[in-house]
Subunit: 248 residues, 2 copies
Amino acid sequence: MNDLQLFKERSNEAYEIYLPHISIDCVVFGFHDTSLKVLLLKLKGLESWGLPGGYVQKNEDVDAAAHRILEARTGVSRIFLEQFKVFGTVNRSEPSLTHMPPDLWYRQRFISIGYYALVNYKDIVPQVDDISDACEWKDITGLPEMMMDHELIYKTALETLRKQLNYKPIGYNLLPEEFTMPELQKLYEIILGYTLNRGNFQRKMLAYDILIKHDKSRKGGAHRSPILYSFDTEKYNKALEGGLNTGW
Amino acid sequence: MNDLQLFKERSNEAYEIYLPHISIDCVVFGFHDTSLKVLLLKLKGLESWGLPGGYVQKNEDVDAAAHRILEARTGVSRIFLEQFKVFGTVNRSEPSLTHMPPDLWYRQRFISIGYYALVNYKDIVPQVDDISDACEWKDITGLPEMMMDHELIYKTALETLRKQLNYKPIGYNLLPEEFTMPELQKLYEIILGYTLNRGNFQRKMLAYDILIKHDKSRKGGAHRSPILYSFDTEKYNKALEGGLNTGW
């Protein structure tokens, strides 16, 4: 079966299964050690890359659809996903798919609901499916050309993530259970894209009151053994809900 | 023409004009002096109230649709609207509309895109249309029963607005051009629903560096004439984009 036949078969199924005009795109950020990556895939027959995405079944909640779509790409079912914006301009799909027949499912106008997640990329094995040639982590410092408006969706997700550093805690599931203040600072710096003052960072982070300081320090050859911290999960989760301790 | 005939006629038009399955709901908060209100309407034949909403035309951007819908309700075309969340559970419309025939446009499953706005309610005259009995400002301290999941949409918008007080400036177009620190504090208190410490509020607000302090003070009979401030619009708009001066 050639690519077009495959897309036509999938198109007919899609009209049966999914709500028309509505799609989901997921921006999955992967952090590990010192780099931030994003999960991209390449549809068969296209040169540019795209975000993992899909559609909403006629009898499925939108959030459930996002989890189903992401599980198919990552093999992981319980990724914390957050809706961040709807992308709804009329011509957002053009010109990426104009080589396909106009009655194909994929040629509709889609209003896309953007979700993002931040995971430890070592925990996930990207999954290729039969309409894609590749599904890979790409470092955000050297992203390939993207299809449709996916670069805008990715950039909006990164902006959202950066803004959320000001009012939401971050780091759980991304750092080892016990970590040093410089390791936590590095996570913030990688996401923000610039370096931070060490003293200010520590003062502000401790004021948030979401860390537990441990008596022991990590074994190693350095002159000064760095102090270890872990997240106080109760306070961390409370801050996830209600915001960090910076409010009015 | 009775109500059902009217809804049927509108239903037929809607299938022609709009994308199926997608709706928009607007939470318009109105502030003035010492109260916060929300704009609600009552569809003909329903007992409960609803948010002003509508649908996306087949050739219309989603944001443009939100502005069109709100203009029809308020007569005002340039309200600053912000998308805040998509409401997409399967059964979110039930049971409000189950008395209508199942093939009616309004009985579809709708995934609704929530927008909110904060305006000075004195600037707006609510507009009733021919499928509604009423369109009114209701004080948030005594809201009537709402249809579908509109109470959830309203509450989520209010939560979003409250969280944004921590990282976005607020007050432009809501306060007179020159205002006192207690007047600005009152706006925050009305939105948050609790009182704030005066000294802390002033210190924090001045640290944001978005105010211009005026030499003159307001004339009046009080022992102490309150100092007048206005927003530094350049800094205010920069903070709207990039966040308040609290970041890393």
